[in-house]
Symmetry: C2
Subunit: 201 residues, 2 copies
Amino acid sequence: MSLKKYHHGDLKNALIQAGIKILAKEGIGGLSLRKVAQKAGVSHSAPYAHFPDKQSLIAAISTEGFKQLYAELDIAVSPYSNNPRRQLAEGAWAYVQFAINNTDTFNIMFSGVLEKEKDYPAFVEISRKTFERVVDVVRVCQEAGVLRPAPPEMMAISVWGQLHGIVSLMLEGQIPHTVLDRFSVREIVFFALNQLISPPQ
Amino acid sequence: MSLKKYHHGDLKNALIQAGIKILAKEGIGGLSLRKVAQKAGVSHSAPYAHFPDKQSLIAAISTEGFKQLYAELDIAVSPYSNNPRRQLAEGAWAYVQFAINNTDTFNIMFSGVLEKEKDYPAFVEISRKTFERVVDVVRVCQEAGVLRPAPPEMMAISVWGQLHGIVSLMLEGQIPHTVLDRFSVREIVFFALNQLISPPQ
DNA sequence: ACCTGAACACCGTTCAAGT
DNA sequence: ACCTGAACACCGTTCAAGT
């Protein structure tokens, strides 16, 4: 009778978008399948037609987060393909910015909520692609003498780990006030990063 | 009538211990207040006589985790108080070992489960004390020329962040197989750490 | 002070049934 | 194929009541 048969075309995507909004508004604790369903305007059991369980929805949201992160890294890095040092700095800062501006998405992407036994192919794929991008930047930096010679994947994990660690500790509130009072986030991040970078000339 | 009046002396502590066991056995997702109460042999509402809510129990478990971490760091580091370079290496490796051997405790300590609006004084205190210990080691290393001159708290965050980031990415399954096949955890960790360390002599 | 049991609102998940 | 509604087992939390 009614013109809208069930929902409309793409409930699967509507559920992901609803999840992202709830995550941003209510945080990781407020994200329930039932609330997502309600926000998308369907019954609480409708999501099961598109996701086998809650984990799968979370995987889909995380995948979306990684796509956004990849895009932002790319935007930050592309303009400086002829300047490796700058490229590294801009990419690093984009990573930190993404984490700070999308705390809950970042947390859901990395905070162990995702059980890794099952493989979520799309998630693994974009995650791999992002790492590859980092490795590429690292390689260029090594060729330019900005980063030390070493297996590029190894160096990429140092750089990524350094940024990821500092930003994680920060989001956790583990950086003492005594430090935050004296130094900006930018100073902290680049002090750490600069130790991995060879001095100019 | 029965000799055991309610539980015994120290239900509060029994609940924490029960929580730690459940965490180790069933992981972070299996940790519920009701299960903890059952394991301690009391009704599901008994915990509320000792903890205002679930968060508080989690804070208590995290505090216990930090105490253990502090103790293990201390044991690893103390024997080498006359050898700063060795002290740093042993402390770093102890941190990584703790994270790997107590994955779920480590995750609950750092994975954003704890809302930091409320302050849990015991948690903040042991967390602060642990950071101070790291700063002390860093300071000694700087005086010995093992770490670069810089504000010690700043350098401590670089070192801690580097270790924390790598171990977090590892536990998340974010280190690609292509890397794990070629390098051991120890090699990855010390490759990264060695970049922060000045070469010997 | 410490604990119980019933009650409430909220979960994730399943399943028969409807279109 | 896509969705609903009832049902089940499980939560966190509250509260009157018992010792």
